[in-house]
Structures are given as structure tokens and as C-alpha cells.
Symmetry: C2
Subunit: 321 residues, 2 copies
DNA sequence: TTGAAAGCGGTACCAG
DNA sequence: CTGGTACCGCTTTCAA
């Protein structure tokens, strides 16, 4: 704790004008004599001067900062995504300010407003439901996880990935393949479509489906429902790793073995899924590619076409391979 | 995307001075006539005016914002902590800007500088190692997870918690109790001391100990080391949930059962530990209490005494109860 | 190569 | 109750 040192203090100490201090700090836009530069640098060192980014932003109109809002900080997928976005942004000289909406649309709205008020240079909205009204935003916004017409948005190819998962399961000879899908949005989720498509492609009828929360508890609930079914499915596609983790628990408690009694494939591909028992076969989200694209669109300020990136099936133990 | 609306535009539209706009927006410090207020509110609505927090911060000298740096966004413990801090801060009208240092001291330094440059009103540093030089900071800083003399810091009672875990294990009749401890810092970790104390209190000799990363891979490595030991311990205390998860995997792969062959207790108590197989008995960190205290100290600007909060043993299946 | 000064968007004092 | 205005820290043009 000490009183803040300003550019004025530095100028006075170095015996130059504030303009010169600015030239030195920013390495431009005017040249500075070696002597003056040295004196300024010395002053900065001695005084412990740190430029005020707030003032700079006010003057230049740019904060060189992106805001990132995820639906749930506790979901490892979003943690991974945040990390990847942070990395990609840092490479371009931007700072990412992260915050979580905790799955609450009201909170999400508040966070969006707070970030915009802070004059972020761009906003990343990871949202499981509908995106809030962004019409007031005067900065580029990229929505992740949901393709929105007219808005820059990136997502994995949910449908294709889900379908691949189901076809893989069907390839193991399963004929009753259930779906555990997440809540949110009112349209039919892409992953549900993919599941259905996979079933069709394999000539199978729809299996039972249940809608639950995206987290472990949701999967656990789904599992309890599933084991109580008259015609129990022999395979399940879960729309998130976390759900699959909860599902595994419910199956275990019911004395069912995975994959012997019930095979499982999950969507996401987070580290947690690798350490579950059995290790989960997953449809891996293209986190790095999406992050790179998000940052690219933010930096270039282009309203990109909604784009979906291919997923990858990572085979482990839970599918019965 | 539209051009930014400023207070000037609002004043002009409403036919008042900028001062009056300010009084309306901030509900003070001067009274405004109902008519003027109504006109201003109307102008704000029509124009879609959003106050520029950057300018406000510059003028008032306060951003009403806290910075939070965690060592690893992927660790559920820190996600929980971030959420709790965010909640506590929001109740006091503060916004929390979160970022992760990814376990790299260099990155941590950078992030600290970036946050300070953005004039945060306070900084929370969750750090597994030594804290960086904070002498330049002119705002309150609270360190979490490590008690530092002369710096506001909060942490769980690591030693006490670890000791309770070990004594619990000893109470089950185990006599060879191993330690899996995290890397970082150069002092003897508190959790290691607690483990040793617990052993002493039970009249047991030191068990084998290994230092590995705090995450799943670290625990996995530790597990592989452990199963190869000549005199294999029958119980393990792991310094984080994630390590225990990795440990479980290694034990399973070696054909060992938990808790029958090896009992496990972990430190942290995150949701992930509840869904592992078997569910982990854990020493639960007092996340909410710590978060509340962190925010209190930041808001009040007091350099608090380093304080440690009691943990709680949560008994599940992995200990053999 | 340097300095003076305007102005970014707000706040709040002072005078009316 | 309201308007005019100085100022927060910084950038950058313009003139010297």
C-alpha cells in the first residue's frame, strides 16, 4: 500500500514533460533522445510507476480486454475452454476477464452488462440456453456452444458427434440405446437429433430419453431412472461428461457393470472422464480450435459465419471396445 | 454494434446539464426535480445509454472490482472458491474478475500486473507456492491457501485437517499410512506436518511419502509408485482430491481394491470426490467461510491477521468405515 | 526532440 | 434544484 504514482510524478522527477514519459512508455509515436529516455526509465524504476490502464483505455477507447462468461465455472469443459481462450488471447496481446453465470440467465444478463460497462473490447458468451439480448453491445460478441444466425458463433458439430457416438454403440451390437440430454433451450437439442439420426442409420428404434441437468447430479438422476426401466437399455449416450459420471455412479449402485451390462459414451472429453471408472469413451470437443476461432473473430472484429467444428471419438473402456 | 452513447448525448437529449444526468444515474449527491429525472430516464432509455465504468473509475479512483488469480482453473476446488468469492463480493456490490495462472509463477506475475494496472480495488491471490512480490500493490491483497506473515491471508487448517484424516485411518487399525503430497513451495507443507503428527499421536512410524503434482496425473504416478513398494501401505492420505482420483485409478489398474486393500482419505472435498469410485472420504475445506473472510478483508481494506479455518471430515466409502 | 494543451466520459463542487 | 466547470491519468496533435 502506497499512494499511486502517476505519469506526472515521473515527468517531474525526470525533469521532462508528460508527453515524453508517454513516448518512452509506449515507445512512440515520437522519438526521444537517449538521455531523456534514460532519465525517464530511471524515474519509473525509482518511483515504481505503473501506467493506469483505466485512464489509457478512456483515452484510447480500447481496453485490450475480452470478457468471458461461462455458464458454470465448476464444469471442467468450460475451464478448459477458458484456458484455451486465455492462451490464444494472450498471444495477441489481450487480457481475458472471466466470470461465471452459474446457469442463471438473470446473472448472465448482469455479467454481460458489467463487462460491457467496463468497456471490454470483445465478449465471449458460452451459453447452454438462449443468448441474452446483445443488441446494445457496441463490441464484437462471439457465442460459443450455440449457433445463432446473425451472430458470430462457434460450436462443435454436436449432431455429427452424437451420431458418431451412437453408431459406435450400434456397432457393438446394441439395439436399445438411451439418451441422457441436458436441459436448456427450448428447441430440440442438436445432440438429440444426432442420437436419433444415428439410431435411424443403424435401423434402430428410438431408445428411451431423459432430460436432466448437465452436471453430475443430473446424470445420477438419469441413471436411477434408467435402471428402473422395464426394458432396460444396454447402452447410453450422455450429452456431457459430468452426466456420464453421475450415470456411472447410479449404475454401480444398482449393481450394474459398465460396459458389460450397460455401455456408455459421453460428449465433451474432459480430463475427468479419463479418470472415471471405467474410463469413458467420449466425443471430444475441439476446444483449442474453437478457442482460436473465437479469439480470431474478436480481434478482427468480423461478424463471422456461425461455424461448427468437427469432434473426435476417443475410445476408452466404457463403450465395450 | 453502434456508436457509443455518452452522458453528453443524454444531457442534450433531455435538455439538462451533464451534472443532472450524473445525479440521476447515481441517485445523488444532489436532488433532482421529478420532471428532470423523468426526462433523463427517458433519454437513457431511448438512447440506450450505458455509463462508462472506465471513466467513472478514473474519476472516482475506484473500480469496485476485485481481481482473483487461481493457480489452476481446472481444479474444482478453485472453481468452488471462485464461485463463493464471486457471490460474497456481489453481495457487497463488487465485481470479481477471474483469471488463472496455470501454475506458472511467471504467468502469475504477469496477471498480477495486469490486474493492478486495471486498477482493481483488491486482489485475491490463490497460490500453491510462494506469493510473488506484492510490495508495489497499492490495494489490499489477500492470499489464500498460504499463511504469510504481514500479509492478509486465509487458509484451511491444513495441519489439523491432515492430522484428523490420519487419525481416522489409524482408528481403522492401519499401521502403514502413506502420504501423497503436492509439489510447490520449499518449506515442509503443513499437510505433511499434520500427517506426521497424526502418525505420532497414534504411535505409528512414518509411512512412505511421495511428492507429486496436485492433479490427477500426479496422483496416478504416486499410485504406481505405491503399488510397487515392498512393504505396501494399507492406507494413504492424499493432499488433494484430484491426486486421490489419480491414485484410485492406479490402484484399480493394479488390481487393488479400495478400501479393502488400500484405504484412502483426501484433502479438499470437491464434488468430483463424491462421484469417484468408491466415493472419497475427505477433509473438507471451509470454502464458504474463507471466501466470506477474503471479501470482508478486501472491502474493509484491513490487513487482517493470517487466519486459518477449521476443516471437516466427511466420511464416505474410501476409508473403510 | 520536446512541451503545452485538448479531450476521452464521468463526478461533484460551487455559484446561482 | 440546476448549470458550469475543474479534474481523474493518459495520448497525441500542434507548434516551437
Amino acid at each position: 500500500m502506497s499512494s499511486p504514482v502517476t505519469r506526472n510524478d515521473v515527468a517531474r522527477y525526470a525533469g521532462v514533460s508528460t508527453a515524453v514519459v508517454s513516448y518512452v512508455v509506449n515507445d512512440g509515436p515520437r522519438a526521444v533522445s537517449p538521455q531523456a529516455r534514460e532519465r525517464v526509465l530511471e524515474a519509473i524504476r525509482v518511483l515504481g510507476y505503473r501506467p493506469n490502464a483505466t485512464a489509457r483505455a478512456l483515452r484510447t477507447g480500447s481496453t485490450q480486454t475480452f470478457g468471458l462468461i461461462t455458464p458454470d465455472g465448476g464444469n471442467p469443459l468450460f475451464a478448459e475452454l477458458a484456458k484455451a481462450i486465455d492462451k490464444a488471447a494472450a498471444e495477441r496481446g489481450y487480457v481475458v476477464l472471466q466470470t461465471s453465470a452459474d446457469g442463471d440467465p438473470e446473472t448472465e444478463r448482469t455479467k454481460v452488462a458489467q463487462l460491457l460497462a467496463r468497456q471490454v473490447s470483445g465478449l465471449v458468451l458460452v451459453t447452454p440456453t438462449e443468448a441474452p439480448d446483445l443488441s446494445g453491445a457496441d463490441v464484437p460478441v462471439v457465442v460459443v456452444n450455440r449457433l445463432l444466425p446473425g451472430v458470430s458463433s462457434v460450436s462443435p458439430r454436436y449432431r455429427e458427434g452424437a451420431r458418431a457416438a451412437v453408431e459406435h454403440l450400434a456397432g457393438h451390437g446394441h439395439t436399445r440405446i438411451a439418451l441422457v440430454i441436458g436441459e436448456g433451450g427450448r428447441r430440440v437439442p442438436e445432440r438429440e437429433r444426432g442420437w436419433r439420426e444415428g439410431l435411424r442409420a443403424a435401423g434402430l428404434p428410438d431408445g428411451p430419453a431423459i432430460r436432466v441437468g448437465f452436471r453430475r447430479e443430473g446424470g445420477y438422476l438419469a441413471g436411477q431412472w434408467l435402471v428402473g426401466l422395464e426394458e432396460r437399455p444396454t447402452a447410453v449416450f450422455a450429452s456431457s461428461d459430468l452426466q456420464a459420471i453421475g450415470l456411472l455412479r447410479a449404475l454401480r449402485e444398482a449393481g450394474l457393470r459398465v460396459p458389460a451390462d450397460v455401455a456408455v459414451v459421453a460428449f465433451d472429453g474432459t480430463p475427468e472422464a479419463e479418470y472415471s471408472w471405467p474410463p469413458l469413451t467420449v466425443v471430444r470437443q475441439p476446444v483449442e480450435r474453437m478457442a482460436a476461432e473465437v479469439v480470431r473473430q474478436l480481434v478482427e472484429g468480423t461478424v463471422g459465419e456461425p461455424t461448427a467444428y468437427p469432434t473426435e471419438l476417443v475410445v476408452r473402456k466404457s463403450c465395450g471396445c
